[in-house]
């Protein structure tokens, strides 16, 4: 009897052990699987990022260099009809265009046909006469002398030299838009050592241009900065005030619930709709000018407000209630409690939310198209009421251009935009680490 029960208890023990071992094995397998899913998804994400960056960098790196041709130019007084004593007006009136063409022709006397000559002129940027004129304006004493001039190569020349010259390319890979005459001239120039690639300062010091070799991002960067400044100045105080009021002062009733639902909804509204709203309200109703950073900033303010409000409210909610109790128990008024204790503790979270909202605003294109910030603007804006464009819109504009050189510029502008975004997000992380009180 006892033997029997002992036996059955033993077999029960054995069965329990077996089952538990099997369950444990299953559990381990499940955990391993889960870990691998995580690793796989991270690997996938990283691969996508690496692909994006290699693609953009390989395409855009070329835009950071520009081809120049070093040439001796004789500022012949007779051809220009100028002397070192000529006045500014006389210099401005002089025909630098024909002077430039003449000096090129003299260098290549065997080019006789009109087409060949045109090909020769087209190797250099169309602004070359103006650059020569500016040289003379800056120092009239160059008249009558021979100067070494660093001439900016035309985008077709530039692209050919950077990507095709001296390489054995065939078929589709051969992207040259140069004629045979031009290729020969380039070949001669390169062999004579006159051609050099330099860091492309034009890209950072010029604004948009029809000529790719003269197009730069300065105007777009300044436009972006002005627009973001307007956005920051308006969105941060409004959003923080809203968040504090809703979190700390507003009575909890149906109206505040309704407002909360609407704020959350607004955060998900497509940005182009904010653009339309801005167009209707700011431009059509209030009559503000088109294409200006002020209106762009207003529109982006509307767009980023929900983001900042939501993150600020979360930051305020995260402040431990014991701190509020302590302040209230000391006899601090509601406003004192909020200003002295809640706000300083919530500030890192609010700032993080703001910077993330700003980064979002920096990358926004669609709403700005609606208010006309898509115009071709050559001047760098000097204030918030000057017509301007912004980086993402500049990228959008260039990506639409047919010239191969603009493809390069597009990628380069994307790199600049990404740099700004990475800087802003790093700043957000740094600020949070710096201001966060772990006490």
């Amino acid at each position: 009897m006892t033997d029997n029960s002992q036996q059955s208890s033993e077999s029960l023990r054995e069965r329990t052990d077996q089952r538990r071992a099997a369950a444990l094995k299953k559990r381990h397998a499940a955990e391993k699987r889960f870990r691998w899913f995580g690793r796989l998804s991270i690997a996938f994400g990283l691969a996508a990022v690496v692909f994006l960056f290699t693609d953009i960098i390989s395409k855009g790196l070329g835009a950071f260099t520009q081809t120049y041709v070093n040439m001796e130019v004789t500022f012949d007084a007779d051809t220009l009809g100028l002397t070192p004593n000529s006045s500014e007006e006389e210099i401005k009136a002089a025909s630098f265009g024909s002077f430039f063409k003449k000096s090129l022709r003299e260098r290549y006397p065997d080019l006789s046909s009109r087409k060949e000559k045109r090909d020769l002129y087209a190797l250099f940027t169309s602004d070359m006469p103006l650059i020569l004129r500016d040289m003379v304006l800056a120092d009239p004493n160059v008249i009558g002398t021979t100067q070494r001039v660093s001439m900016i190569a035309d985008d077709d020349f530039d692209t050919y030299y950077k990507h095709s010259y001296g390489r054995d390319l065939s078929g589709d890979e051969k992207v040259s838009r140069l004629s045979e005459t031009q290729e020969n001239i380039v070949d001669q120039l390169v062999k004579s050592g006159a051609v050099e690639k330099k860091f492309n300062t034009i890209f950072f010091s010029n604004s948009d241009s029809r000529e790719p070799e003269l197009a730069g991002i300065k105007g777009a960067v300044v436009g972006s900065i002005l627009t973001l400044l307007v956005t920051l100045v308006f969105s941060f105080p409004i959003a923080v005030a809203t968040a504090i009021y809703l979190e700390e002062f507003a009575p909890k009733n149906k109206i505040t619930d309704f407002i909360e639902v609407n704020i959350n909804n607004l955060a998900a509204v497509p940005s182009v709709i904010f653009g339309l709203l801005g167009l209707a309200v700011f431009i059509n109703f209030f009559g503000l000018p088109r294409s200006v950073p002020l209106v762009g900033g207003f529109v982006l303010t509307l767009m980023t407000l929900p983001t900042i409000i939501i993150s600020s409210r979360a930051a305020i909610k995260a402040v431990p209630p014991s701190i509020r109790d302590a302040a209230m128990g000391m006899g601090a008024s509601k406003v004192q409690t909020v200003l002295h204790h809640v706000l300083p503790l919530a500030m890192p979270g609010m700032l993080t939310g703001t910077i993330i909202g700003m980064a979002q605003a920096l990358g926004e294109t669609a709403p700005l198209l609606m208010i006309g910030m898509v115009a071709f603007i050559v001047d760098t804006p000097a204030g918030v009421t000057d017509p301007a464009t912004v980086l993402p819109v500049q990228i959008f504009l260039w990506s639409d251009s047919p010239e191969r050189a603009f493809v390069e510029k597009t990628s380069a502008a994307i790199m600049v935009l990404l740099t700004f975004l990475i800087c802003m997000n790093s700043l957000a992380v740094w600020l949070r680490k710096r201001l966060e009180r772990r006490w």
């Binding site: 014991s322 000391m330 006899g331 601090a332 002295h340 009180r437």
Partner: protein, 276 residues
């Protein structure tokens, strides 16, 4: 069994009268017919109690009996809870503290509070003690403020421990030091009454002993109402003890009477460990 049923019947009756001696002559605070509601739910039923001058009165009772809620009525901390409603009369020196004319800021300067969990501000030790004086404008200059901070810390026995690191964050102190700092912060504004809501429940026994000693010393100048879960603590620090049960004030008596010879059956059951 039978006794418990009878006592329950007593509790349910709306017109229950507190046994013992809840009332006295010339009290510091007078509580009359106070009911507290959280929304529809009533948490405190018709409490009548006098709190004497410079006495330590402890409030004991099982969890959820309303003792903390009652304590928070005494300086209107319940105002911060939207659904909370207080009815009845609460007088501080014959002034109704729920009167519309009373500024809650001034009330809380007169009736200070120390909380269950030490909650120093995430600022320096100095700023913690100076904060009350700053917002109530108690001092004219830095010298006076320094003196006040020093005096308050000395009274809480914290001065020696922190005098060399007044500028360091208060959260770097140990739990017991933090709680004493909170008491220093409360007495820096020189209140008349100090409310303590289980001030030692987050502290170890040694820190508890220090705080209890401090309460004893402070009772010379202040009226102290302390809510506690520990009956030993109530017995050690207080002169009078009030026993709450399910929102009703069952018995108020001298502490020695409550713990040796309770008048009410429920009190007896609680202190002998049969309830709670």
């Amino acid at each position: 069994m039978n006794n418990a049923q009878i006592s329950k019947a007593e509790i349910v009756s709306e017109t229950y009268q507190t046994t013992g001696s809840p009332l006295m002559d010339d009290p510091k605070m007078r509580v009359r017919n106070v009911d507290v509601f959280y929304g529809e739910k009533q948490a405190i039923f018709d409490v009548n109690l006098d709190i004497g001058k410079n006495e330590v009165i402890s409030m004991i009772g099982p969890s959820g009996c309303g003792k903390s809620t009652f304590l928070r009525c005494l300086n209107r901390m319940n105002d911060t809870i939207d659904i909370c409603r207080v009815e009845g009369e609460l007088l501080l020196e014959s002034q109704n503290i729920y009167d519309k004319k009373i500024d809650v800021v001034e009330l809380r300067a007169r009736v200070g509070m120390v909380f269950q969990k030490p909650n120093p501000f995430p600022k320096s030790i100095y700023e913690n003690v100076a904060y009350g004086a700053r917002i109530h404008g108690l001092t004219d200059n830095k010298v006076e403020l320094d003196e006040l901070v020093e005096k308050s810390l000395i009274r809480c026995g914290l001065w020696k421990e922190v005098k060399d690191r007044l500028d360091e964050p208060a959260t770097g102190l140990s739990g017991g030091q933090q709680q004493r700092l909170c008491i220093a912060r409360a007495i820096a504004v020189n209140p008349e009454v100090i409310l303590m809501d289980e001030p030692c429940s987050a502290l170890d026994p040694i820190a508890t002993a220090t705080v209890e000693e401090l309460i004893h010393e402070l009772s010379e100048n202040f009226t102290i109402c302390i809510v506690t879960h520990s009956m030993q603590q109530a017995a050690r620090v207080s002169q009078r003890t009030a026993y709450f049960h399910l929102g009703k004030l069952i018995e108020v008596n001298d502490t020695s009477t409550v713990f040796t010879n309770p008048e009410h059956k429920l009190t007896e059951e609680y202190i002998t460990g049969r309830i709670g």
